[in-house]
Symmetry: C2
Subunit: 322 residues, 2 copies
């Protein structure tokens, strides 16, 4: 009996909006419970005393089907009563706080203060929201990514990304915990026992690199079947500062740069059909180079790309067994 696509046990590494698209596709294709997602928390921060985890919320809201379908983050049918009153208090308004979203932040803050881990809080929310996949923060202790900018010095990720709309020129990225994150045990266990690891088309520097900043996790990746999907198409990111950041840090903004970043543990790399002219070979240093339609607009696009990734994984597994 051959393995079917939906039987695969998959771990996805993901950031926010971009990664959530492929993660949704994987969740919809795989059997319930067969997908685990390890999510960047380098952009977590405290604002107004609230513990906010933007990428975790984006992934969970997306899988729960309650995400704002236009923005791709935040909740659908959101209201802004609190924000309106905050404005009247001359409060900073650069970070959008919808009312329902605030409830999520309040309850997370309360539970963390009661001694719950971020993993436990995330699991609790997923259960309430009927999410079947397993969503893990990349770290159960704060492990923030700071952005060292030329003109304004060091700032938190959200200040850089939201407040300053990623306009400041970046000199370097600084991890709050250079000694590494604390990946939840259950996430490492999921990695150990999975058939396939998928690196979502999230920002390699800001979303994926912080997840990889852990020795145990990186070591595990070396021994696993790993497929990455490029977030860079024709030298551009579909959303966010990936291409701009590559330039500022001295890299060519190109899918090949993404490939190079992951090459030590990568088995296959999926780039967009639009980049086809730039890739001559189907194999690069033993890594299978695979062309696909990676722009995901509709849910069927997301499911199609997920199937492409899973089929490629299955093919590689079957070849290895022969």
């Amino acid at each position: 009996m051959s393995l079917e696509l939906e039987d695969l046990k998959v771990v996805a590494l993901a950031g926010g909006v971009g990664g959530a698209k492929l993660v949704l596709g994987l969740d919809r294709v795989l059997k319930p419970g067969n997908l685990s997602v390890i999510v960047n928390t380098g952009d977590d921060f405290e604002h107004f005393g609230l513990s906010i985890s933007p990428d975790l919320d984006t992934i969970c809201y997306t899988l729960a089907g309650i995400v704002d379908p236009i923005k791709g983050w935040g909740l659908a049918d959101e209201t802004y009563q609190v924000s309106e009153h905050l404005k009247s208090l001359h409060s900073p308004t650069w970070f959008t706080l919808g009312d329902k979203d605030i409830a999520t932040h309040l309850e997370r803050t309360r539970l963390l203060r009661e001694g719950w881990s971020l993993s436990q809080v995330t699991r609790h929310f997923c259960q309430l929201w009927g999410v079947h996949s397993w969503v893990f923060p990349m770290s159960d202790t704060p492990a923030r990514t700071l952005v060292n900018t030329k003109e304004k010095g060091l700032m938190s990720f959200q200040e850089y990304f939201v407040k300053h709309q990623f306009q400041p020129e970046v000199l370097s990225l600084v991890y709050e915990r250079p000694d590494g994150t604390r990946v939840p045990e259950a996430a490492l266990k999921a990695l150990e026992t999975c058939d396939l690891v998928v690196i979502s088309p999230s920002n390699p520097l800001l979303s994926i690199a912080p997840i990889l900043n852990n020795k145990d996790l990186r070591n595990l990746l070396e021994s696993k079947l790993v497929i990455a999907v490029s977030p860079i198409i024709q030298g551009q990111a579909l959303k966010g500062p990936a291409a701009k950041l590559y330039k500022e840090l001295g890299f060519e903004p190109h899918a090949k740069t993404v490939l190079a970043a992951y090459e030590t543990f990568l088995d296959a790399f999926i780039y967009d059909v639009l980049d086809a002219p730039d890739f001559e070979n189907e194999v690069f240093k033993d890594i299978i180079i695979h062309k696909a339609q990676t722009i995901m607009k509709s849910e069927s696009d997301k499911i199609a790309l997920a199937r492409t990734v899973l089929e490629l994984g299955l093919q590689i597994m079957e070849k290895a067994l022969r």
Copy 2:
């Protein structure tokens, strides 16, 4: 030229809803800026990570004319989007959190974390809301009142008051800071320079006693003209647990018990007309005992009682000058 009522410089000590009624009357009668209010913060607490100051909010919202006119606390025209979503997260719902009110708590929390004092935050809000009177927290450091209950042990004031609806039998009240509160310098200055101190008809044990838990403030009261209004009428509190608490702690629930609590520094005591049969004399240990209509339903009731208090103060001052 004789002093007019509205020229008096007055400091009021107050708790929440009951005290706010007389405070509003005083604010409306006195010249703008002539009233200072020192407000109980013994019932302040942190909930969902938010710094909440219920009595300060009640006083400020009342003076700003934005208080919910039915409840006497919280904001008028409030919405409950956040609370609705909190319910769906199976979050504790015993403390009502209106959306606009949450904005106040969020901004206070943010400013406190930026290093502002509670006095500064309160002044800032009052300026935004057009409040002319000076509102001070009784302490710029947390100084919480804990309630030691027979069946459930020690609990925070809000747990006792809101979560358990003041039903648990109380063995004692415990001040988090037995060494005293940190009264803001500007509040002490207002006390030093005022003509008259008014103790509002707030709960003597839960709202006024915590304010009096400061040597400097108490010493100042000894040298000032002080008038108190009884919150106990015919052995009952109009609102809240004052009478029940008196019984549990071994006191008779009666206006005379209130008088006794303040007698060391009191110059005059106002009790309700309904209690007239219980008071034989017009003077008790040099304290003038004055009968008045103290139940304040309408704004004109509040203004009328404020005028009564101020007129009594003026009479005492004029006698002293003769």
